[in-house]
């Protein structure tokens, strides 16, 4: 008989170890999956995890991509982790990301063709506000009517996607685009372009913002009263009430922060790597960021590394589909499995596995 025995204290060792264990397990099962798809599993794993960084042929292109892809993931995941810590389940980051991008791009395009250094900051502000507003909807409904924020935030993703389809072929459509859907290319207009700060590194303003967010979140959670209140609300809601924590305020704070960061991520993406508002410029970062947040243990530093790792699977996945013909959907499955194995192995943190003989309770 295998039995779970509750630990007196959560295990420090396993808190650090389970993400690594989950990655290893995912590699093993993923390798079996790649083998079933008809590729050499070892080559596939090497192509995904090693080649983007160290292969002579691809590294020059892939290395900067690491930061480009990790930036939005980290930025969104930092915001989400605050809510998840407090037991507020915002799973609609994808929608907040889209709305942020639309608002940011809209602000930039409104000034076209004026050139000014003030335009880009205004775009950041518009993106942040757009994402914030989209996330505040579930916050208001939750605090005012007790509506489940999981379902509302998710439904708003579909609404945002419909809006995106609308503006890409309507309001924000490039008038000089020969009738093709999609906005003007923001990355090619000096005032609206989110350029690399250091050439050839992939370090654009969004990545910089992500790093600042990591530091900010770390300080907030470990040194500030609000961070303590967020953690308390998640771990012991009743105790938080007695300690005078205002739950409404926490809901607004967590959802608002997540929306702001996701909106900014969307704006940086659309003005840099994506370049323009198109019907499918969003590549699902809002959902992958959920995996990043959990893989990073909802801890800012952990999220930083988890974001880089997840970015690596994106780039490696593209490489694997190019070189080995592995379908890109396999990578999506790979990322999903990672979350699954992480949640499965998390049992070791608070429980000890005991082998007992005979009948147990």
């Amino acid at each position: 008989m295998i039995r779970l025995e509750k630990r007196a204290q959560p295990s420090q060792f396993w808190t650090f170890a389970t993400p690594f264990l989950a990655v290893v397990l995912t590699m093993i099962v993923g390798g079996i999956m790649f083998a079933a798809l008809g590729s050499d599993p070892f080559e596939a794993i090497r192509t995904i995890f090693w080649d983007p960084l160290f292969s002579e042929q691809f590294a020059a292109y892939s290395r900067p991509q690491l930061l480009v892809k990790a930036g939005p993931l980290i930025l969104i995941a930092i915001g989400l982790s605050m809510g998840f810590k407090a037991g507020i389940w915002n799973i609609g980051a994808e929608g907040q990301y889209i709305i942020g991008a639309i608002c940011g791009a809209g602000m930039g395009l409104a000034f076209y063709p004026i050139e000014s250094v003030l335009i880009f900051p205004l775009m950041i502000l518009a993106g942040a506000l757009g994402g914030w507003a989209w996330a505040i909807i579930p916050a208001v409904l939750k605090t005012r009517f007790g509506t489940n924020e999981i379902l509302v935030s998710l439904m708003l993703v579909y609404v945002a996607e419909a809006l995106l389809a609308s503006v890409a072929s309507g309001l924000l459509k490039n008038p000089d685009g020969m009738g093709f859907p999609g906005s003007r290319n923001l990355a090619q207009i000096p005032s609206t372009a989110n350029l690399e700060i250091i050439q050839g590194t992939g370090m654009h303003y969004g990545v910089l913002t992500a790093f600042i967010a990591v530091v900010f979140a770390y300080v907030l959670l470990s040194r500030h009263m609000l961070g303590f209140q967020i953690r308390l609300t998640g771990e012991a809601p009743r105790a938080a009430r007695f300690a005078g924590v205002n739950p409404t305020r926490i809901v607004f704070l967590c959802l608002g922060l997540a929306g702001t960061l996701a909106g900014m991520a969307g704006m940086y993406e659309v003005s840099g790597p994506a370049g323009q508002i198109t019907i499918d410029f969003n590549s699902g970062y809002g959902f992958t960021a959920i995996i990043v947040a959990f893989l990073g243990r909802l801890h800012p530093i952990g999220i930083l590394f988890a974001g880089l790792l997840m970015a690596l699977t994106y780039i490696g996945g593209e490489l694997a589909s190019l070189m080995l013909g592995i379908p890109s959907a396999a990578i999506q499955l790979f990322q999903g499995m990672l979350l699954f194995f992480l949640l499965a192995t998390d049992v070791f943190i608070s429980f000890r596995i005991r082998l007992t003989s005979g009948e147990a309770a």
Binding site: L141, F145, N148, L151, Y158, A330, Q332, Q335, L339, A361
Partner: protein, 307 residues
């Protein structure tokens, strides 16, 4: 706009078809939630059921086999959720989300070779005598077997939950797992069975979309139907017949929206296509504003026998 082009009898008939997947998925989730488990992976199980049912339907030429296989694939996927949440005590919200992500990835991986193929679909089953009634006949009694099956399943679920010992035990587990455990019921086993039932229902629901309603495979074709099913359970206050009402109301809105688009309504197409989601939000708000009655007391709580 030409409203007279919308035929009410046809509208109700297509409403039942469009509501059936949500009805099946919501009914499965209702049973799961009645045992106190919140499985947010409905969307993932549905889309996996959709592609598995479609693949088997195309390869064997038999939609019935497709449905059976879809139910099995949904159940298998839900078993992963069951093992994680019941034996490894993981967080149900996170695990359900993970299940959805896995299901979406898995389905698009399996589905690549099947894009653009038409599947065999279910034959209409005209109920004798009843389908000859004018207006009501073609409206209610001339559907494919899955529509009748879904309504029968509502009745069966209602009867089992309300009148049988099994239903009573199931509800007890959902209201207080500690009390149920103290009475000697196998909480984990009962929950796993309910989760399997929910997975099978979601699989059937997905297959209904890919084999009957569309009938084709496109990536991400469930388009949030699984999430809407979750919302319908809340709307229904965890009561089977109200799930039926909720699903049919929702199906009505969807069909009406499509009919309005076809009739050339002066409403922008984006507004119409986002309306199902906006209406879901509005309904959730109205229901939650009245208070959270009917939710099983142990919903989403982790059970470990040593406590």
């Amino acid at each position: 706009m030409d409203l007279s082009s919308i035929n009410p009898a046809l509208l109700i008939a297509s409403l039942m078809v469009s509501a059936t997947p949500i009805l099946l998925a919501a009914l499965g989730e209702l049973v799961v939630e009645k045992t106190g488990v919140l499985n947010l992976g409905v969307e993932g199980m549905m889309i996996t059921g959709a592609i598995c049912g479609f693949a088997i339907g195309v390869n064997t030429g038999s939609p019935v086999l497709g449905f059976m296989f879809a139910a099995m694939s949904g159940a298998l996927l839900s078993l992963a959720f069951g093992i994680l949440t019941q034996y490894l005590l993981s967080n149900q919200v996170a695990t359900g989300l993970g299940l959805t992500l896995v299901g979406l990835g898995l389905s698009s991986l399996i589905g690549k070779p099947y894009e653009g193929i038409k599947s065999p679909t279910l034959q209409k089953m005209e109920l004798p005598i009843l389908s000859d009634i004018p207006i009501v006949g073609p409206m209610l009694f001339s559907h494919d077997p899955m529509v009748y099956f879904s309504v029968a399943l509502v009745a069966a679920t209602w009867a089992v939950l309300k009148y049988t010992r099994a239903g009573l035990i199931l509800r007890a587990v959902g209201e207080s797992h500690d009390a149920a455990h103290a009475l000697g019921y196998k909480v984990v086993r009962i929950r796993i069975l309910a989760i399997l039932f929910g997975g099978a229902c979601a699989g059937l629901a997905g297959a209904y979309i890919s084999l009957v309603r569309v009938p084709q495979w496109t990536e991400g074709m469930t388009a949030g139907a699984g999430w809407i099913a979750l919302a319908i359970v809340v709307f229904a206050s965890w009561k089977p017949w109200r799930v039926l009402i909720g699903a049919y109301l929702f199906g009505g809105v969807t069909v009406l929206q499509l009919n309005l688009q076809a009739a050339g309504a002066k409403v922008p197409i984006e507004v119409l296509s986002m309306s199902p989601y906006l209406i879901t939000i509005a309904v959730l708000v109205i229901i939650s504003a009245r208070g959270n009655h009917g939710a099983p007391a142990a919903l989403g709580k982790i059970f470990h026998a040593s406590q």
